[in-house]
């Protein structure tokens, strides 16, 4: 069974959220439409505002983070609280070398404390999938990042943000730039963009940061920003995942920035109205210049707000379908 089958009920409804792979366009649209309902524009302040509900009242959401995270964990926490759930945050140091409690034991222990939903981040690809295989029938699992495999909620908030500005996915040219090799975000973004109909997806980086056979995912790879950004509508920057790098994969920070860092000059290769996304946290002067990050063309801050709404939507949808299926 692939993880895409595991995350759907027999009726094809989303009950866990593990990966974008295997989901239909409609699944993604449902998530975005649901998320949209949670955002209200405050016209006086010209700022978006999140709506609170009680759909997860009396439910317990456990944020189980085996890798350090501030931003993602916080947005999941806020999302759960906005839905009326009780939230428990657990940051656990776990490594295969430490031979401590296994992932399975941790999950079973927390289940015994009546958890209803797990939000899991782990350094191992497939960790959320593994958890979803072993949780009780009423418990849903959300993948908040597993190794280099997937970070589907990040991809969905990116899609949501893109849709707010450029809703015709079929017509878009999108470039994903940087450390594709270690990026679970890139893999999920590629999956989501393809599912929503984007025809032209490009990845840009030195070969040491591009996975082997990346073209088989339906993207075109480039080693040059000039060629890769030519005529694109969107530039999705990635963080250099130094914590995952083994040995040296590029020469120096200076060289990286000169070759692949996004600045005004390189942005000029893209279309005039091209927009920039970055999953954060950003490394100014390494991946992106402040001039770009803080410009009107940057969607980096709206991404954060949208992230909460999208996670609210995913929590609500999976919990509802999981409960239905368990009955």
């Amino acid at each position: 069974m692939s993880d895409s089958q595991l995350q759907l009920t027999q009726q094809g409804k989303l009950q866990h959220f593990l990966t974008i792979d295997g989901l239909s366009k409609q699944h993604l649209i449902d998530i975005m439409d649901t998320a949209k309902q949670y955002i209200q524009l405050d016209k006086q302040k010209n700022k978006s505002k999140l709506i609170k509900t009680n759909v997860l009242k009396d439910k317990t959401v456990v944020n189980l983070f085996f890798e350090p995270s501030t931003r993602t964990r916080t947005t999941f926490e806020i999302a759960a609280k906005h839905l009326g759930a009780d939230v428990i945050n657990l940051n656990v140091a776990r490594s295969s070398a430490s031979k401590g409690e296994t992932l399975l034991d941790t999950i079973h222990n927390l289940e015994a404390m009546h958890a209803d939903q797990f939000v899991i981040r782990d350094s191992n690809a497939g960790a959320a999938y593994f958890a979803a295989q072993h949780v009780e029938d009423h418990v849903s699992v959300l993948n908040a990042g597993d190794g280099r495999h997937a970070h589907p909620t990040q991809a969905m908030l990116d899609m949501f943000t893109i849709r707010e500005h450029k809703p015709n996915f079929n017509e878009l040219s999108v470039a994903i730039v940087g450390d594709i090799l270690h990026s679970r975000v890139a893999r999920s973004q590629i999956g989501a963009l393809k599912t929503l109909g984007v025809q032209d997806i490009r990845v840009i980086g030195p070969n040491t940061l591009l996975p082997t056979d990346i073209d088989a995912l339906g993207v075109t790879s480039y080693n040059s920003m000039r060629e890769g950004l030519e005529g694109t509508d969107l530039v999705m920057m990635l963080r250099l995942q130094r914590e995952r790098m083994e040995g040296q994969l590029f020469a120096s920070d200076r060289e990286y920035y000169n070759a692949f860092g996004l600045n005004q000059e390189k942005m000029a290769y893209a279309k005039d109205d091209a927009l920039v996304l970055h999953p954060g946290p950003i490394n100014r002067g390494l991946e992106i210049s402040s001039g770009i990050a803080d410009s009107q063309r940057s969607l980096i801050l709206p991404q954060v707000t949208n992230g909460i709404a999208v996670r609210m939507a995913i929590m609500e949808i999976t919990q509802k379908h999981r409960a239905e299926a368990a009955q």
Partner: protein, 432 residues
């Protein structure tokens, strides 16, 4: 050890790759040896008269083969008896048609003293099942830094020497080990990999690793390791056997080395002939093996390597595990498949799907591996030790209900297998 009474295997289709024989015949086993091979099937009655107290087994429409010889299977004893024992696995092997098994030295304690080797052999003798042949540790603690007592161990009955899957610390040390082994004519079993390139990879570097984001093993790990080893084999003249190759390029390199006259043989594990990376179920730890399942192209090249005789042997690479070993996220699980029972149906499937002549096919699991390990088995000739099996080539069965090995870690559990060993005779004794 001899059989109390003679056995007559009647009317079976005898296939003996060592003598290029394929005939319907009666085979008489007496005193632990093949006594008579009678191609005139009208002679059954007179044979029964001649061997008055003989038990006759009807093998009509069945294949009679030499007992299979498996160059690599882990029985986990000593050291990991919670996974499996010599008794459990030697019996499972015999039942699966494997009558001789070579054991890599990475037990605990490792096989570096005659006492360890003797204990393993003695335990298998008591199990009255498959015969077990230890391979000695090439280096102290398999650390790859100081030579093990490989001459002493060869004298104690070890059928080769190996550093198993552990790294030899340097090219200098690798060269010395080969020089030393060559002095005594001992075969070195090599896991030809560049360990730096292997890293912590657990799937093939390519589509699977890219899609699933799992740490990857590039083909280059094997190609670079093999290139280094071939250069050293050439300059030391050692008898070398390459274990478990997985890449198309490896087949070409070994073929070339053989053509230039090097003393080099190779084996492949059955999994790499039966599957490629596309057959993996996402994150299913039962597919976690080392080297990893590679591309369809690699799989085909390995099968072609069998056909061309570049790869002499197919082994089970049996690695039974306890449940906990596989109950974790993929990359944290232990590699290996419990596969004694897959070797025979697996090889039959590979042969059928690729039109490999039965003689050539069975040679890879009988006389050829026996030659590599220097064993007097894997053949059915008058006078040789009577290890043979009777196989129903058409029988459908499944591992789900019939696994005998203690290891349940198998991606084949739900699969319908065709071909089963129905009788096993070891040293003239009917085991089952």
């Amino acid at each position: 050890m001899s059989s109390s009474k003679p056995l007559i295997i009647a009317n079976g289709t005898l296939i003996d790759p060592s003598s290029n024989t394929e005939i319907v015949a009666h085979i008489v086993i007496n005193d632990g040896k093949f006594d008579t091979i009678e191609a005139n099937t009208d002679e059954l009655h007179s044979l029964q008269q001649r061997f008055g107290n003989a038990e006759t087994i009807d093998a009509s429409n069945k294949l009679v083969l030499p007992g299979l010889v498996d160059l690599r299977a882990r029985f986990r004893e000593p050291g990991q008896e919670f996974k499996a024992t010599i008794a459990s696995e030697a019996y499972a092997a015999a039942k699966a048609g494997i009558t001789s098994v070579c054991i890599p030295p990475d037990t605990d304690p490792i096989i570096d003293k005659p006492s360890v080797a003797n204990t393993i052999v003695e335990k298998s003798r008591l199990a009255k099942a498959a015969k077990v042949h230890p391979i000695s540790a090439l280096s102290h603690n398999l650390e790859g830094k100081m030579l093990g007592d490989i001459w002493t161990m060869a004298k104690a009955g070890c059928v080769g020497t190996s550093n198993a899957k552990s790294e030899v610390s340097s090219v200098l040390m690798q060269r010395r080990a080969m020089q030393y082994a060559a002095s005594f004519g001992i075969t070195v079993h090599l896991y030809s990999q560049d360990h730096e390139l292997l890293g912590n990879g657990c799937v093939h570097e390519g589509l699977t690793s890219t899609r699933l984001g799992l740490p990857a093993v590039p083909s280059a790990a094997e190609i670079v390791g093999l290139a280094r080893d071939i250069a050293l084999i050439e300059t030391t003249g050692v008898k070398a056997h390459i274990m478990g190759i997985s890449c198309a390029r490896s087949v070409e390199m070994i073929a070339q080395a053989q053509q230039s006259g090097l003393n080099i043989t190779a084996d492949v594990d059955i999994h790499h002939l039966l599957m490629n990376e596309n057959d993996m179920r996402d994150f299913d730890s039962n597919f976690h093996i080392q080297p990893p399942l590679r591309t369809k192209n690699d799989q085909q090249a390995l099968i072609d390597g069998i056909k061309a005789g570049v790869i002499q042997a197919v082994c089970s690479d049996h690695q039974p595990h306890d449940d906990d070993a596989k109950l974790a996220p993929f990359s944290e699980t232990e590699p290996g498949i419990s596969s004694l029972e897959v070797l025979l149906p697996g090889i039959l499937k590979v042969g059928k799907e690729n039109n490999i002549a039965l003689q050539d096919l069975f040679a890879t699991v009988t006389n050829k591996p026996a030659e590599i390990a220097g064993l007097d088995s894997g053949k059915i000739n008058k006078g040789s030790i009577a290890d043979c099996i009777i196989v129903d080539g058409n029988k459908s069965w499944s591992l789900a209900t019939q696994t005998l090995s203690q290891g349940r870690n198998s991606p084949y559990l739900e699969e319908a297998l065709t071909g089963q060993c129905i009788k096993t005779i070891i040293n003239g004794n009917l085991i089952h």
